[in-house]
């Protein structure tokens, strides 16, 4: 949660949020899904708390449109053949097949790689990834909770997923080399 400075504060924000839900559930009108509503309460609490703590980052979150990263490629250019090669835009270094992926992705090590990769994402990408892929929100719920357009949501999701996949690729390759 990038709005607040520490894990402890984040836990308090989560607790306040659930209290807010318990106390306010009768006012829930069903205009959005329940979890979008809960997430909005969480985000409001986090922002209020972040302002109060004064140590939080400024709300660059709302200003940094460039973070959508329209020109940020999913993979480095050197993974593909250049114009002078036989197949421009084709793989120069294709992905190596992941061996026994279900088993290895269930390991504690893979879990750490995933959590670190998600934590390293720029805030907006991290929020979209966390809601969509970790928590399983629908794209509509994410758009409502974060007030982003369908296109921006998808671009952020794409950038985030591409980076998390790349981190797992590193994990698989280091495992194969060992």
């Amino acid at each position: 949660m990038q709005h607040v400075p520490s894990r402890a504060v984040a836990e308090e924000v989560v607790q306040d949020t659930w209290l807010g839900v318990i106390n306010g559930i009768e006012r829930f009108e069903g205009r959005s899904s329940l979890r979008t509503w809960i997430y909005r309460i969480l985000l409001n609490n986090a922002r209020t708390r972040g302002v109060r703590e004064k140590r939080t980052l400024p709300f660059s979150y709302f200003r940094r449109r460039s973070e959508e990263g329209d020109d940020e490629p999913a993979l480095d250019a050197d993974r593909f053949q250049g114009r002078r090669n036989a197949h421009p835009g084709g793989w120069a270094r294709p992905p190596v097949e992941w061996s026994s992926p279900e088993e290895r992705l269930a390991s504690d090590e893979a879990r750490t790689v995933l959590l670190e990769a998600i934590a390293a994402l720029p805030p907006r990408q991290r929020q979209v990834i966390t809601l969509r892929d970790v928590q399983g929100f629908s794209s509509e719920e994410v758009r409502n909770a974060l007030d982003v357009s369908e296109t921006n949501q998808r671009v952020l999701l794409h950038r985030g997923r591409s980076k998390v996949r790349a981190a797992l690729e590193g994990y698989f390759e280091s495992g194969d080399a060992a």
Binding site: G89, P94, P95, W98, V134, L157, H158, R165
Partner: protein, 86 residues
């Protein structure tokens, strides 16, 4: 593949993969991607890895993620509001 269908490269595909998996892609591009995946093992593996990545992220959440004291606090608050609830 017909002459009129757009040709996509592997480099295009890695940028279209999210639109593809989200089902947010024009029919004509959809065909081009399906054709490409049929004949490109590198891209087929890339898409597979993307699906595995999404699956793995989904597996990160568990009910135990909440701190025990947070849970206890909430259960107390809930019981106070709803005394009849066991």
């Amino acid at each position: 593949m017909s002459e009129n269908e757009p040709q996509i490269t592997c480099r295009d595909l890695v940028e279209l993969v999210t639109d593809y998996l989200e089902g947010q892609i024009a029919a004509v591009e959809q065909h081009a991607i399906d054709d490409h995946l049929g004949e490109c093992p590198g891209c087929a593996e890339y898409v597979r890895q993307m699906r595995l990545t999404i699956q793995a992220m989904r597996g990160l959440v568990s009910d135990e993620a909440m701190f025990p004291q947070t849970r206890d606090e909430l259960m107390r608050a809930f019981s106070a509001l709803h005394p009849s609830y066991p």
